[in-house]
């Protein structure tokens, strides 16, 4: 028996009964600390402007959340697999513009509103999927590094969105606006879709073989390949998923603005990446948490809305997000890497 070789001692520190060790394990639990940070932010902004906790403002935050979280979810997969996707913001813009063209022409031909929305969503997801597959082809076949491939796509999609729309928002048909505000109780349709997608992706990333392969590739690509995983195929599906979710985000942006604006998703990729990093992911791959991304997105949207409501000049939110990333990265460096 290779007892000495393999003797892995049982985990040394067990959560003892003392309050101190409980406090220590809570403090080292990133998810808990993110919740604390979120609660502190909400308390702070409410103290500055009590209207922050009004249902109208919370609905605004939820809307912001819905148009950012899908980008963050896609980015979580990509970053867990050791890649990066800089194109999601402009992919959302381009999808929204193309979807708006499609919906406008359908509205013109007097189709039912539900059908128009459905086709619009399909077109948006299709455009996003095509962008994601193009990224995957550039990365897995043309062998560009993900940063360069998706940076090129960022420029390409953003440019294309402006060119085909002439720089003008597409839509603004009163009927188009009316059909984007449908609600089911307190929930808008996008928020219901978002809740379902969060649940499915959380399960998929942390409990299925698909998620396991995603982490394995990000942790050690050679080991994944040697274990028989088809790395190219899996990485392709990850970028395709990120693109498709960006496309759906384009539809949400359209529903929110009532038009497909060519700059609707501008800089959203940076916010999405920030949310993933704040949520505890490592940009080196192999480490990410879906719950962390959700909390990170909530924190970013809370800060952005809170600053607006407290009458801080709008551009300060970028500085605040930068600070959040710095704090998240710093606390991450103090802790050993955790498994995804």
């Amino acid at each position: 028996m290779v007892t000495s070789t393999g003797a892995v001692a049982p985990a040394g520190r067990r959560p003892g009964g003392t309050a101190r060790s409980i406090a220590r394990s809570l403090l080292s639990n990133q998810q808990f600390m993110l919740l604390v940070a979120l609660a502190a932010l909400v308390a702070y902004f409410t103290a500055r402007a009590p209207v922050f906790l009004s249902s109208g403002e919370l609905a605004n935050i939820l809307t912001d959340f819905c148009s950012l979280i899908l980008l963050g979810i896609g980015e979580t997969y990509v970053i867990a697999s050791g890649g990066i996707d800089l194109s999601v913001g402009s992919a959302a813009s381009l999808s929204g513009v193309v979807g708006a063209f499609a919906m406008r022409s359908l509205l013109g031909s007097r189709q039912s509103e539900a059908l128009v929305l459905f086709v619009g969503a399909l077109v948006c997801v299709g455009i996003g999927l095509a962008i994601g597959l193009t990224n995957a082809a550039l990365i897995n076949w043309a062998r560009l590094v993900p940063f360069v491939a998706t940076l090129a796509m960022l420029g390409g999609a953003a440019g294309l969105a402006i060119v085909i729309s002439n720089g003008e928002p597409i839509g603004l048909d009163p009927r188009a606006i009316s059909l984007t505000t449908a609600r089911l109780g307190p929930f808008s349709y996008p928020s219901l879709v978002v809740i379902a997608i969060i649940a499915a992706c959380w399960l998929s990333l942390h409990f299925t073989r698909y998620g396991r392969y995603t982490f394995a590739i990000g942790s050690n690509e050679f080991a994944a390949r040697a274990a028989g995983i088809d790395v190219r195929k899996h990485a392709t599906s990850v970028y395709a998923l990120s693109g498709a979710l960006a496309g759906l985000t384009g539809m949400f942006l359209y529903m929110r603005l009532g038009s497909g604006a060519p700059t609707a998703g501008l800089n959203d990729e940076l916010q999405a990446i920030a949310a993933v990093v704040i949520g505890g992911a490592s940009l080196y791959g192999g480490v990410a948490r879906m719950s962390g991304t959700v909390l990170g997105t909530l924190i970013i949207t809370t800060v952005t809305s809170g600053l607006i409501i407290s009458n801080v000049q709008a551009n300060w939110d970028q500085v605040a997000v930068a600070l959040l990333i710095a704090v998240a990265a710093a606390t991450q460096a103090l802790r050993p890497a955790r498994k995804g």
């Binding site: 290779v2 892995v8 299925t208 073989r209 982490f215 050679f222 994944a224 274990a227 995983i229």
Partner: protein, 255 residues
């Protein structure tokens, strides 16, 4: 070519492989029998790891053929070689550090949950964790059960997990690239014992090491590579430490 009796299990015939202008392997013949440990030795850059990667399906050879149990095979991916029951321990590169021990042992072979959940890809994680420790114990590697990641283990413990995984899954051919790296003297001897047991189970084992005493202790036959060519292929009994070193460096031409 056969020195140990019995049919050839796995064979490379006149295999060549170059990286750009570097000829890593040149017309290499290499044969492995069931129930045999073959040592593959040579200086850095002699082509040992390249030969392992050709045998395990990571690299396709530029020319030459691979023959498994009398049938010519062409691997387009490591997955195909694995499916043909060729198991490999790669030097320092076989584990995913962010994954748990159980996840690493079952990487690429995940056990899924029964029923609909399994068809959706949901894994039976607890079952895998348990089975992983059992599999490792079966091949003589004791690991206390916990769900730490491989990154949290020491170098020796990681190596033990990597060896255990390869040995546990091996059914025909076992390729071990530097399995005694990162191990203390006594731990290394225990690994050699694990290798002997694998041979006694009827596996064909290829053992690569820079530690010549280990090679002399555990191997039935030794193949010496120099600058991508096989310069000697002989039973271990014809070598002693000095003559083996001389053959590797080329200072002592094989007589």
């Amino acid at each position: 070519m056969s020195i140990v009796g019995g049919a050839v299990l796995y064979e490379a015939v006149r295999v060549s492989k170059s990286y750009g202008s570097v000829e890593a392997l040149l017309d290499v013949d290499f044969a492995l029998h069931a129930g045999e440990v073959v040592g593959l030795v040579g200086d850095n850059g002699a082509g040992k790891s390249t030969l392992v990667k050709v045998l395990s399906g990571v690299h396709a050879p530029d020319s030459g053929t691979l023959v498994l149990e009398g049938v010519e095979r062409r691997w387009s991916s490591p997955h195909e070689a694995l499916a043909a029951e060729i198991e490999t321990l790669y030097q320092d590169a076989g584990l995913a550090p962010h994954l748990s021990i159980g996840a690493n042992v079952f990487l690429g072979r995940e056990i899924l949950r029964p029923g609909l959940l399994g068809r959706l890809g949901f894994m039976a994680q607890r079952r895998m964790d348990k089975a992983a420790l059992h599999e490792l114990a079966q091949v003589g590697i004791e690991i206390q059960g916990d769900r730490r990641t491989v990154a949290d283990l020491s170098g020796g413990q990681r190596q033990a997990v990597a060896i255990g995984r390869a040995v546990a899954w091996a059914r025909k051919v076992l390729l071990l690239d530097e399995p005694t790296n990162h191990l203390g003297a006594r731990q290394a001897l225990e690994v050699l014992e694990v290798i002997r047991k694998a041979r006694d189970r009827g596996l064909g084992v290829v053992f690569i090491s820079h530690t010549l005493p280990h090679v002399l202790q555990v191997c039935d036959r030794i193949v010496v590579l120099r600058l991508g060519r096989v310069v000697r292929d002989a039973p271990t009994s014809v070598f002693d430490a000095e003559s083996l070193l001389g053959t590797i460096t080329g200072l002592l031409e094989a007589s």
